[in-house]
């Protein structure tokens, strides 16, 4: 469904990604793990059109999307949950969700999806009229996910959903990722919490200083010595 072929991405003179190639099949959860500064978020931003690759191309559902503006990529069904949640703090929960459906025009469909988001995240329903800046970190993460789901994505790009959250909240978020995936949305998940990420994903890539150094099924990587030593805390 999504294919990235040898992309090179630069910030000014600094090369952040070197010949990165990944692919994601429909219905999968694929995770990218790696340390700080490995280029995980850069890759997601490039996919969703916030950054442009210098060389290489990105093919999504048979169309080349590299170099296209973000709004046309969102329209094509790729939705990005940005790192650090980035909810619209001075707007209410409901208004945030409405903005998620910004590119859609079908009122009935939007209302239906909003009800569905509230079903997935009952906590958001309780806080519907509350300013989203006053939500807890976990609730904001839920809102960011809900907002991305309002665009009715075929593929959801998630950047570090566990960042700064309590362990119980992390578990809840990952349960929801599984549920969203079971409903047919493909997920590309960027994580530092390699343990959690590998437990939900079917396949994984390991990114190190802008290069893919390992890839394989999540199970293989969980058992690989390198990954265990570097990301899962030894043993």
């Amino acid at each position: 469904m999504l294919q990235v072929n040898n992309i090179n991405v630069f910030y000014g003179n600094i090369q952040a990604l070197h010949d990165v190639s990944i692919d994601v099949q429909e219905g999968e959860i694929v995770t990218l793990i790696g340390a700080n500064g490995a280029g995980k978020s850069t890759l997601l931003k490039t996919l969703s059109g916030l950054l442009k690759p210098k060389t290489g191309d990105i093919v999504y559902l048979g169309n080349k999307i590299s170099g296209k503006p973000a709004q046309s990529i969102v329209k094509a069904g790729m939705s990005h949950v940005p790192e650090g949640r980035r909810v619209f703090a001075n707007l209410t929960v409901e208004e945030n969700l409405e903005l998620g459906a910004y590119l859609r025009n079908d009122k009935a469909g939007i209302a239906k999806d909003m009800a569905h988001v509230y079903e997935l995240f009952p906590r958001l329903l309780e806080r519907k009229k509350q300013l989203s800046g006053t939500l807890s970190g976990g609730e904001q993460q839920m809102l960011a996910m809900g907002r991305a789901l309002m665009a009715k994505p075929k593929i959801l790009l998630m950047d570090e959903p566990s960042m700064g959250l309590a362990p119980l909240m992390v578990k809840a978020i990952f349960d929801i990722i599984r549920m969203v995936n079971a409903e047919g949305t493909t997920v590309l998940l960027v994580e530092q919490n390699a343990h959690m990420a590998l437990s939900v994903a079917s396949r994984a890539y390991v990114l190190e200083t802008g290069r893919i150094v390992l890839s394989g099924s999540a199970k293989e990587l969980q058992e690989s010595d390198e990954v265990r030593a570097a990301y899962l805390g030894g043993l």
């Binding site: 916030l50 973000a70 329209k75 980035r86 703090a89 707007l91 208004e95 903005l99 910004y102």
Partner: protein
Amino acid sequence: MKKSKAFWAYVAIAIIVYAVVQFSMSSGMIGSYYSNMLIIMCVNVMLAVSLHLIIGITGQFSIGHAGFMAVGAYMSAIVTMKFDLPFIVAIVAAGCVALLAGLLIGIPTLRLRGDYLAIATLGFAEIIRIVILNVDYVGGAAGMTVSRQTTWTYAFFAMLITIIVIANYTKSRHGRACIAIREDEIAADAMGINTTYYKVVAFAIGAFFAGVAGAIFSHQLFFIQPTSFGFLKSFDILIYVVLGGLGSLSGSVLAAVLLTIVSTYLAEFPETRMIIYSLVLILVMLYRPTGLLGTKEITDFFKFGKKGGKNV
């Protein structure tokens, strides 16, 4: 239905205010000193509301608003004084040329963020001023004489239209997109909002109404010169928006009205005027750091007939 009812109620109130003032003016109850103040008040409200759209709603920190006002003021003066066309044509032309100036300045500079944008817009406003200063056709530094054609009717309805257009734009889907850009530009991008487009549109609409305000202003004063549109004027407008509360339309209206009154009365004490004016600003900022109304609208305080919640 309810929303449009409230809308027409506000319009009706505005018309009544207009009629009362118009009657008092024509019957001589309001002298020329105060009618001049009221017209300048309308001009300042228009400037404040148009900048509110750029700073308060879209979050683009532009501090060169007097530049657009200058474009409008000179354009309208050229239309009426050099081409002898009616004032209403001059007003529309002023708005349109200011809009073009807004596009010209907005398209390259709106890629910048925060302080960089502020400096770039300030620079552009100065360029406009200096260009006018060096064009002899419009009098250069000596200024340009303009016949007084502004009446209370022109000033009031130009202001009313500005407020209605900008309030409705803010409530629309486009306005929501602008607010998303103010709140978080990256997230807005990720939602599929064309951020550059909305920034430029907000800038152009703001420039249009600043141009119209410039036209009303120049035909009130008999005489315009480039120094009236320096960066001090830009800061005056910025102060209305910040003092009223960033993001509050009625706040910027209120601040523009109050500060016009304050500075008119202080005109009697020219030596201490700026000191007192600055003290007022400092005190308001100390006691109301988010501005007079914060992000609230004045209508939020009147809840009758409304179910509560925000008036969106």
